[in-house]
Symmetry: C2
Subunit: 193 residues, 2 copies
């Protein structure tokens, strides 16, 4: 089985502390591109990727309660869920559905979307969709020989303020990248059966 399994899946693990070695810019670009190519429900790609600049790093780490992977990572990318844009009446949805229809009528996808859209649950849905992009980015990092850690524990309000997110955009996850300061831990997983 092992030689059949995608090498990046086998290589990825959650790094808990990073070395200070900087990331190459082209590696960051390639990680972003991997996220951009992720699938999403209705093709809505309800995300935005914010690369944290040097000026904001300490405050983003603070919003992550200074957890070691956030505080030590050479690179931080915040995956932001585009919640307000998902209103069926938005220009954003129209643009995505026009693209998805590939020149045909976009009404069937609109009808399907209106049937499932709920304003009170769309934020959780959008945040969950971001996990597709996150998984791609984590595997792309592994493919590049980089370590990574997804960080789901943060002060969402503080993080949104630090990044100057507009209303209707919600931080979904913080991704820490870099060269890991420790060896890959033994993998813990439930058995398949």
């Amino acid at each position: 089985m092992d030689d059949m399994l995608l090498p990046a899946i086998q290589a990825r693990y959650a790094c808990r502390r990073f070395l200070p070695d900087p990331l190459a810019l082209e590696d960051v670009a390639s990680i972003l591109e991997a996220g951009r190519l992720a699938p999403s429900g209705f093709g809505l790609e309800p995300w935005r990727f914010v690369v944290v600049g040097d000026a904001d790093r300490a405050r983003v780490a603070e919003a992550c309660f200074d957890q070691p992977p956030a505080a030590t990572a050479a690179g931080l990318i915040v995956i932001v869920a585009l919640v307000a844009q998902l209103d069926p009446q938005s220009d954003y949805v129209r643009a995505r559905f026009d693209a998805e229809a590939r020149g045909a009528a976009n009404e069937p996808v609109y009808d399907a979307y209106r049937a499932v859209y709920r304003s009170d649950s769309i934020a959780a849905w959008a945040i969950g969709q971001c996990n597709f992009a996150v998984a791609h980015m984590l595997l792309q990092a592994a493919h590049l020989g980089l370590a990574s850690c997804p960080i789901g524990g943060f002060d969402s309000t503080l993080l949104a303020r630090t990044l100057h997110l507009p209303d209707g955009e919600v931080p979904a996850l913080v991704l820490a990248f870099g060269h890991c300061a420790h060896a890959a831990p033994e993998r813990l997983r439930k058995p398949l059966a």
Copy 2:
């Protein structure tokens, strides 16, 4: 950039209609293994993978409103979110946190989990977590040269009944796999900027 990007990410697309050619059993096993190795919040792996047997295929496709990818796929796997198991008091959570603590005290992770657990939002969270496993499985299929399609539109109650899911388990997504009956479509994505 292209040669730096994970080949499976570049190869994956949503196949809308599959050929009847059967899947190799070892390919199905390898797709399941890829899902098993996915990351998850708190290491809770709140999922179960149900490989749909021949006897249930037509009814699962029906629960997916007979959408062509569901109706034509050689293989269907339902990703099921383990919602009830995520109660902080459950034996399931205890077992995962004991494993995650790697012999140390599991209280810090319990404290963090209790601080964010909400019984009224845990289902949406668990379903969103399943997207990590789904992304791994889609990329693993691409790595094996197989086409795939994630299907999010289904009658959840009918699907749960068809699969005899116990209370507290919720279908998150249906994955269709096989050999695609059409060429990869032109890729549609928002630009990076």
